[in-house]
């Protein structure tokens, strides 16, 4: 297996997994699993074909399988837990909002949207990776964009003003 070719793909895979899962640990686990799968199935990759697309295909199969295997992983409503969260120092609030809203999209829509935008893949390649027709890619893309926009329009949720007399609490939404 051409190690250098694979190493070149890893940063992109990591970033994509990070945005797809919305979680740094889950993302690195997913990339790790993808890499292991790729190594064990290496002979299935036809050299000369698109290595990146193949790796994304493997990653998606794993991701969707994981989600199917753990349906009980429910999303926490951010407003319920915001007091427990510690904010990352670096990303802007806008980026955090965007990530939060992304996670509220159905996984299938999120995948299409991210492959098309983050990875700048063609609709045809996206369809191949997700094993769905191009028409489905388009309809999911359309729904994802509309819904994400609607979600973003609703945020930021208005925070209750601190009660008078209480010291203001520094608080940030994750």
């Amino acid at each position: 297996m051409n190690r250098i070719q694979v190493v070149e793909q890893l940063p992109g895979l990591r970033r994509y997994a990070r945005v797809l899962t919305g979680d740094a640990w889950a993302a690195d686990d997913l990339v790790q699993d993808t890499l292991e799968r790729a190594c064990s199935k290496w002979r299935l990759w036809r050299s000369g074909s698109d290595l990146r697309a193949w790796l994304f295909t493997l990653m998606h199969n794993l991701y969707l399988n994981q989600r199917r295997a753990m349906p009980s992983l429910q999303r926490l409503e951010i407003d319920d837990v915001q007091d427990n969260l510690q904010a990352d120092a670096s990303p802007s609030d806008d980026a955090l909002d965007l990530e939060r809203c992304l996670q509220r999209l159905p996984a299938e829509q999120r995948a299409v949207l991210l492959l098309v935008t983050l990875e700048d893949l063609s609709y045809e390649d996206t369809a191949r990776i997700l094993a769905i027709p191009v028409g489905t890619v388009m309809s999911r893309l359309s729904r994802a964009r509309s819904r994400l926009r609607a979600l973003m329009d609703r945020t930021p949720a208005p925070k209750p003003a601190p009660a008078p007399g209480q010291p203001p609490v520094l608080r940030r939404l994750k």
């Binding site: 297996m1 970033r15 690195d28 890499l35």
Partner: protein, 300 residues
Amino acid sequence: MSAFAMDPSPHLSAAHSTDHAWHALVDGRLPPADAAGLQQQLAADPTAQATVAQWQAQRQQLRALHQNLLAAPLPDALLQTLADATARRTEQHRRWWRWGGMAASVLVAFALGWVGRGQWPAVAPSGLLAMNASAPTQRFATQAAMAHAVYQPEQRHPVEVPAAQQEHLVQWLSKRLGRPLKLPLLTAQGYELVGGRLLPGDTGARAQFMYQNSAGERVTLYLGALAPTTATQALPPATVLTAPAKPAQAQQPAETAFRFTQEGPVPGFYWTDQGFGYALSGQLPRPALQALATAVYQQL
């Protein structure tokens, strides 16, 4: 289409193709002429234009997410996984070559046996057919070249008995070939003995000695009786040598001239001496090979 309901655009009822075109515009998938045309259309429709602009902004925001990971060092665990897989794969490759090498030698053995029996000359591969029709010494030389081709690339088991056990090697092969053998040395020519092995030939046992120089180039000396000897009488009397070999046997003792052959996979020099055939094979220029063959001949 509940998602659409959230979109304030009045163009929800527009044909899908329009919607698709907007996405294609946002994602930079339209040919320049089409993109310009669509931009013009949108200019006349502020609401649609706003939607497309929103999507464009969204796309930019998404593409900015976790940009830092693209330049971040990769976790060790990932690199380790890759390194392990690469190592495993190399091992698999080596195993494959080893088994492949064995399979090749089995094939060659079959081919030799088949041709050696000489019973189906019509269906023998054309390259081998010529050899079958020629003198037994020529066939001997070709077999030597094939044996060379099989074992010369071998990394792990090039020989059965290594040079370190030289005495045992000579004793063993002398016994199996039914004649006291002398092991020629090619040290003066830059070739060290690697060792030797026993091989089947169509008139009995054959021995192969392998030599290697500092550049890793290998030559092999292949030897054995040209006619079945009492010690190695293993073949039924119907074999090819019995009838037509009589004149050959008669002339063998005198026949000591070197002959050069390129019939086999590698070139070689061969000669006969007292009913024994000798062939020195190697992927070398003819003069170099001849010098080695001369050195061998002089020591025997």
